[in-house]
Symmetry: D3
């Protein structure tokens, strides 16, 4: 259930105390995939998850509109990348969750499509759960499922999911160049420490991994798997005593 | 040109120093119109404006993804309304504009769909233009055109535009009740001062004005007119010396 | 009743829960009017208002000292203009109101003499009323009365009121030059949007309007009218249920 | 030279790079002295200082309007006391000084009338001098002269100066009670540490010291002495290399 | 070289642009290990690392004093745990690094002893490297070496290292109870998401893992290995072009 | 009782509601004394104080780990000096005290070794005592006892105490030069105002006073006297009604 598409009395009549808040990013995904990749995937996974949950439980969970700009300064050397500071991102997420909780949706699962958001989401969900009138956790889809291929950045995994969602969104003729300019791994590691703070330090075209290995079929499997994982998480969050109730 | 749909090399090749950033809100619009009304309308007006500009000038202007949650605490008593503090909203807008400017899009028109964002946008565009490496102004579509009907809230104007954009989005059978519970004007005024800080202080169902007067045809005219007004603004912003250049 | 002139036991014995907080600005008002114009006028209107209220109701309302520096960066290109950021201004106002409320004066009318403060005051009075232990509204005198002449900036209206309050304060021999270098309107408008963030973008000497049309007699009428309007507002604020009591 | 009373061209023509910013407080001063005592005294000392400086050097120094609310939470238990947090106070002072420096007045002496502001002013003048485009120091009049009597709070020193400035401002018939309820010293000391954070912990009526020892004649001497001390400071600040110039 | 033990001329004469900043935590480590475990280990590893680096290169690297309180709210249900917010922690680290850089030590390796600090350190080192006049990375010793045993919390790894550093610090008679009340893993996982924000949600006595498997000999190996890893990192940081130099 | 050396059950079993938090600084102390002087002395005084208190009362008071970096920008021109902003310092202290109070240690004496921290500590202990669930005061050892010699900076007093604590820490052969380059007093005073914000404005080598007058014997007396003074303060804090209880 898209919160944005509902009217306020329809939301009032919704009995859930669960809500889902998708969080994406607008950032380079190589020469072949759109800047909105993470927003597109987070939105799709959120929808698949609440649909799977509805099928299992019969209950509707509202999905808030997707936050489109996240923590992505590490890609700022590639054109079109948008970002806010982690402080601003956390505040935006925290206050949006607080307004959901104001209406009784006080168990919120944040569905995340971008690795760079992960640390900030772990922190802000801890803060929310400890200090605010809500419980929140963050679900990053590619960390929650078997992705079959290496995740990378703009690699086989993301390219597959985008391809499944909107085949036109992938520039197929750019795929060979995308592979060519890609790095094999994320970062530049010495003694367990990544010396690189920005992606341009280790990848020429912004890609990590091999996007030519992507298929829409893999994308379809990833979406189904992510939806199932999210539904399982919603079940667990729904039935769980909150941390603050154990105090 | 949707920035989110483009790849980074496509944005790199875009020669404009103009960009458009739509800003909406997710908030009650009465029993008949969706919570996402302002996000829907801001997005549509932004697209209409850059299309009209492209037709006039041949130049493509990137449209950033729409910021979906704004300054809307005044509607918090109606379910589903989401909001962030004005401070967080300004920071989110300011930093998003700074990242556009980082890539050379340093003349930014913010296209706004929500009256409650107006003060904060006037402030933050002043701050950006004075202190940051960008020039920004905010365009609120219903303040820039002849709306034919009273603006209100969830009234004839917004209902018409939503109806034109997505006829299914309006709950037609709720329209009589929407009019019934509406107030005639916004606020509770004494000596030029609005004593009410929240909409529930003066409207029973969140509506101000008469949504039964809405028509999709009016919506179509509003969109065309808004697009033209935005295109005219883009022309002016493109050709103007910036304030800081006059220092 | 000037709070500053009273002793603490006198304030303790004051039974009102109303208070007035004047807010001015120190900023250019052309070559003929003093930088302190807005502080002078806000102070005078506040006094006139509580006097009119006392005559009507017999009740004394304390007037806090006038805050002298506000949101005026838009005039920074003219010498002597002082300003703080909107954030600092809001904090200063909010905390001053909180200290009034600490002593039981928890219905506060802010009397404002400067257009540039208006947005910030609307925001901070909303924040105070929603989140703090007080109710506050802002009264900008020239927005609350029939001013007879165009408001402008340093134009006929303000010049008249200053002239009435302190005839020596107006440099009469500068009036012709003041009119000469003035602009006719505030800002530079395209499609309902003001492209100018600073006043020096559209006025040579800081003046908007025609100060030669000013008279002390008009000033006297403006003061009386503003005092009456403020008294009417105090009556309304005194008798009104607060927003938070309606929750 | 009162900055507020001047026009912008008059300030433009002022050749000084010195400015004076008076800072007061609105807070209890016992049953006999007005809440505005510290604002009144800071304003008077600032005027006396620039007058003495003008007599010595022939140069005019602009005096900014007095900031009326300071760091005074320690008196919050006595009615009418107004205060802001030290953070807000520092920001308000710092930004006001920055706007003075914007116009070339980048050597600013803050003239302070309230002991509770002292720590915050020492900090903020250090911050300004190290980080901003200005040099600032704070002058607290009663710390800079021989006061003859013990300073206290609302005691002989302040009562004398107020009495000299405005004899009506002192409630003479309250003086015996003021002495009666006073404490002899400020605070409650053990091992060099003041255990009391608020004045109501050690004084019944807010007074420290003996206000019956006050005379207008002493007040006159205090004012002259303070003005001379401030003039000497202005001379030193005018001729001094700044700290940042030594870097 | 301990910076705290040196005089300022000795630091002035140090030619390195490298510095090490150890960061610990003061938080529960079960009934057998001291609250200062992470501060103790971070300090020891920092010393071992600069000693190993000195042996390899002949160069002395100053070690700043260890920051003793970090991000540890997740342990707040166990007595004696101290913590600050992530915002305050980041500010404290960032400004300390800025003061090191002020003296020319602008390549800073933060040596971390606490898992809860990791996200905040990744963020703040990115911010420092992008926005400040320094390059920084964070080295968390147990993430950089083969620990032989599971890390846990107060488990075999930490208990071994503390035991090696200060055998008296481990309460040996508490070890059986420590194992008894421990959990096997950190957190409560569903679909790749940890539902627990605080450690008391999954461990009775604060321990994760088996501290009875600890030996001082393992501790000695861990320290040597950590020192070597840190020395290798220092070599890499010393020789590397910084990210900002590649811009 | 060192909190860091205890386990959490040992702290749980501690019945005190008193705690001590030492605060030092890492900053230049001339060519003869270590940068860590203030951290060393604050730590030693804290230990001496709780030991003296334990001897008098039989009660154990936990001593938190010493905060090593404080407000010391005034020494930034001398190498190795570390500092954070007063805002960050106050936040770090305030939140550390809040975590002590979370465990029931809600009467906290901060033991300070650095004059530059004094203003910030007075402010933050006031804020804590008024707004948080704790009472706090700050004890600066050299302000609380008869120091026999002038305090200065790196002068006889500090050098004596360091010498007593760790004779090797003082570079004896640098003492003549330390005296040679020292200034006689702190600052550059005109009309009761210190014109110097930084120590390099008035001392060549960072020293104020005469370190050659230092003796370990004086250091021993200073430590004993400071410990006794701190014990007396702890007795007073333990038995005192808090300010908030008097409200």
């Amino acid at each position: 259930m898209q919160l944005s598409a509902a009217t306020w009395p329809e939301i009032r009549d919704c009995e859930s105390d669960l809500a889902v808040l998708p969080v994406g990013s607008t950032e380079q995904h190589g020469p072949h995939a759109p800047l909105g990749t993470d927003t597109l995937t987070a939105t799709a996974v959120a929808e698949a998850g609440v649909e799977a949950y509805r099928e299992q439980t019969g209950a509707d969970v509202p999905v808030a509109p997707t936050i489109p700009v996240g923590v992505a300064a590490e890609h700022r050397d590639f054109d079109g990348t948008l970002w806010v500071s982690p402080d601003t991102f956390r505040a935006y997420v925290r206050e949006t969750v607080a307004s959901l909780a104001h209406h009784g949706f006080d168990r919120v699962v944040i569905v995340n499509g971008h690795g760079g958001n992960t640390d900030a989401l772990r922190e802000v969900t801890g803060t929310i759960s400890r200090e605010d009138a809500a419980y929140a956790v963050a679900f990053t889809w590619f960390d929650s499922i078997d992705t079959e291929e290496e995740m990378g950045h703009g690699g086989a995994v993301e390219t597959s999911l985008v391809s499944h969602l909107d085949r036109e969104a992938i520039r197929e003729d750019e795929l060979p160049a995308a592979r060519e300019g890609a790095s094999e791994g994320w970062g530049e590691w010495v003694a367990g420490v990544n010396l690189a703070h920005d992606s341009e330090e280790f990848t020429d075209n912004g890609v990590v991994g091999d996007p030519t290995a992507a298929t829409a079929e893999l994308g379809e499997r990833l979406l189904a798997r992510s939806g199932d994982a999210l539904a399982a998480l919603l079940v667990a969050v729904d039935s769980r005593n909150r941390g603050d109730e154990a105090d």
